[in-house]
């Protein structure tokens, strides 16, 4: 189950999608909108996607991560549009026979998602906004210089 939706996410539907009698471990990760980042107060987030490519990317990533970690099922639903502070911006559910594989697959999936799936986050502050990671974002440029 891979979804790109505006509005609140249904984490329980994703959990059910990956649960099975062969899966002793079901891990449900919620990426929630934090009230601050790098010491700066955040007033809300906004997500944009290149939707057909993002959906294809979520599925391809699942195939690769399932094969690498021997997990049985992956479901993922990033939320698009406005996400208020405290609400969930992304749910990832992983079902596996054992917890070690579920944990490793979760870490791996999220890391690749943040590199290779065309979804962009804009942070809103009291005095402005920034596209996270953008070439013209001062924080991203600083991170690139020190990397």
């Amino acid at each position: 189950m891979f979804l790109l939706r505006h509005g609140p996410l249904d984490a329980e539907a994703l959990r059910r999608a990956v649960a099975s009698p062969e899966h002793g471990a079901v891990l449900v990760f919620h990426g929630d909108a934090r009230a601050s980042t790098a010491g700066r107060r955040v007033t809300g987030l906004w997500y944009e996607a290149f939707e057909p490519m993002a959906l294809a990317g979520l599925e391809e990533l699942a195939v690769a991560v399932r094969a690498r970690h021997g997990v049985g099922a992956i479901a993922c639903a990033p939320r698009l549009g406005a996400v208020p502070v405290g609400e969930t911006a992304m749910v990832l559910a992983v079902g596996a026979p054992h917890r070690e594989a579920a944990l490793a697959a979760t870490a791996d999936y999220i890391q690749r998602l943040k590199q290779d799936v065309p979804i962009w986050k804009r942070e809103h502050f009291e005095d402005g906004t920034r596209w996270v990671g953008s070439a013209t974002d001062p924080q991203a440029r600083a991170a690139a210089r020190t990397a």
Partner: protein, 81 residues
């Protein structure tokens, strides 16, 4: 031949444009697009760092030969959900 070019996120806002149709010479490769666009879209220059290209719904190497009707997306650095 013509390709459709799509812009997203910071780049879309910088250009104030979501997509446009572009006439390119036969033999144009994915990696040539930024130079072809550069003259008419000077705001692109500040966004070239980390910019990737997709043709259809897949990332494309700069050497990929474009075909008439291709949809090319310019993908700024993503943050992935």
């Amino acid at each position: 031949m013509r390709v459709q070019v799509r812009y997203f996120a910071a780049l879309r806002e910088a250009l104030a444009l979501g997509e446009e149709s572009l006439e390119v010479p036969p033999g144009t490769r994915a990696g040539d697009l930024l130079d072809l666009l550069g003259a008419r879209r000077p705001a692109l220059a500040a966004h070239r760092a980390g910019l990737r290209r997709a043709v259809g719904t897949r990332f494309a190497e700069p050497g990929l030969l474009l075909q008439d009707g291709d949809e090319v997306a310019l993908i700024p650095p993503v943050s992935g959900g």
